[in-house]
Amino acid sequence: MSVSDPGRGRSLLWTALLLIVVFAVVPALLASAGRSYLYQVANLIMIFSLLSVSMHLVTGVAGLLQLGHAAFYGVGAYCAALLATHFKLSIGITLPAAGLAAGLVAFLVALPTMRLVSIYFAVATLGIGQMLYVVMLNWVPVTKGPNGILLFGGLQFLGFDLSKPAPAYFFVATVVSVSIYVLHRLSHSYYGNALRALREDDQCADAMGIDTARLKLESFTVSGFFAGVAGALWAHTAGYISPADFNFNVSILILSMVVLGGLGSLPGAIVGAVLLIGLPELLREFKAGDYRNIIIGLVLFGAILFLPKGLIGETSALDLVRRQFGRGRSIPGHEGGVGWK
């Protein structure tokens, strides 16, 4: 593929820019500010970016309104915390385990509910989220219920201690970047197009030979997996988790991020996370005090009113095909007839 290919060039440029920002510019700024508080905010923004991007796959791309995402975040966090406290495992193991556990739970709860459509599916996810929350809160012998779980030992990876703010930042940034890249590939591919078809008109997608039930199940499971990964990151960076971190309001917060940035847009989901985590902290700096939450509500309202497509509109998978053949070029071996005889 030639370098002059505009689609590929542009997307490479964006990726490079983003990586530079995440791994060089932001850490440099953070280091020069010398405030662990800012590291904390940055970590939180990244964790919630992963949560919103994982919800984006289900809600933005596949169009399944998900009202219980925080529960899978919680399942991941609890899995990581339990493994870390009972078996003294480090994040190298708890992180994938948390993802798998959350993915498995997502898969199991999705099995019976996949037949449901639109608002019925949404309210089923709400019910499942609430059920998981009630379990976290009340299954005292395992989750310690409202006592929550205290993780001692900080953030260890392959024998390295990453507990200090800067190493922790790089660890979280790496995990989140890789995860978001995977989710990006999923949503920005023909597989993503199949999910979009499901969102646009599931019956019609059926008529195209797309196994919509399988797609729903898969996207829900993958989304749960990455929410679980985010949960492990939170558990290990915060050092203490309790059910309150995973209640309905958190699901709504994540949904707001996805919608604020523009349903269907992955960069939008990230922007939404940056805004909804960053803004409250920014307002704290400006001593907005009691008016903080009202301002956030108004910003959310204004964004929906004035930016009906969100801050960033939906992106298409088209540059994929542009990348493959280049625009306007004739298709190799294609003579204008149709190839379906």
Binding site: H188, S189, Y190, Y191, R196, I210, V222, S316
Partner: protein, 253 residues
């Protein structure tokens, strides 16, 4: 060569007490272009839905390429090689024209999640090729990047057909493709369908526009009140008194 291409045997479907489709049988050979006509409420769309699996039949069987397909889910039937369009134009409005068409190819290729990571080779390349070929066939290649919601009504009609073509189906079912088109557009569409047929595609066409059906179909099946009342060449059907009565009676009702 005993098995016909598509074989509908005594197919029936009742909604409550109403028999929307009542014991319809028909065989369709590979490469045929069959018109399906009938007055409003004759059960044409229901018959389509029975064949494509959107409505499960209450009686009868459907065999396609030697395989029994009634009772299968719509996506399984689609993958067996039956592509369809919808009466009320169901494109994916918030996706680009190309992405719309790609969905047909995606379904036929049965891609899995891993395909998202294999890059440009393999299945993704095949999908791109199929999609672009289908777009070229309907001459929408210049609109590939346009949002489907933003193209004209006439183009959307072609888009829907292109999406079904990207499946590379063995049988194409078109549900009133000319609805809402003007005379010139209808003519162009007729030519296009005829060219598809000339390329070897097996097509069943439901249409209100008699002129269109009569001009391109060599065989016409007439439904009335859920029953097949005529099956033959345009000339035979036109001359059939049962057909005349059904249409006149239908006007009264």
């Amino acid at each position: 060569m005993s098995e016909p291409f598509l074989s509908i045997r005594d197919l029936g479907r009742a909604f409550g007490g109403l028999k929307a489709v009542d014991g319809v049988s028909a065989d369709i050979a590979r490469g045929e272009l069959v018109g399906l006509i009938g007055p409003n409420g004759a059960g044409k769309t229901t018959l389509f839905n029975l064949i494509s699996g959107f409505t499960p039949p209450s009686s009868g069987e459907v065999h396609f390429k030697g395989r029994r397909i009634d009772g299968l889910k719509p996506d399984e039937i689609a993958r067996a090689g039956i592509g369809r369009t919808f009466q009320n134009l169901r494109i994916f409005p918030n996706m680009s024209v190309f992405d719309n068409v790609s969905v047909g190819a995606i379904g036929a290729e049965r891609i899995g999640m891993l395909s998202a990571f294999t890059g440009r080779r393999g299945v993704s390349e095949r999908i791109s090729q199929r999609g672009l070929a289908a777009l070229q066939a309907v001459k929408l290649i210049d609109d590939a990047e346009e949002l489907a919601a933003n193209i004209s009504y006439g183009k959307r009609k072609y888009l829907e057909i292109a999406r079904a073509l990207a499946m590379q189906p063995d049988l194409l079912i078109l549900d009133e493709p000319a609805a809402g088109l003007n005379e010139t557009e209808t003519k162009a569409l007729a030519d296009f369908i005829a060219s598809l047929h000339a390329d070897g595609m097996t097509i069943i066409l439901v249409e209100h526009d008699m002129k269109l059906v009569m001009s391109i179909c060599r065989r016409i099946i007439v439904l009335a009140s859920g029953r097949k009342i005529a099956d033959g060449t345009p000339a035979e059907v036109k001359a059939d008194p049962a057909v005349l009565e059904a249409y006149l009676g239908g006007d009264d009702a």
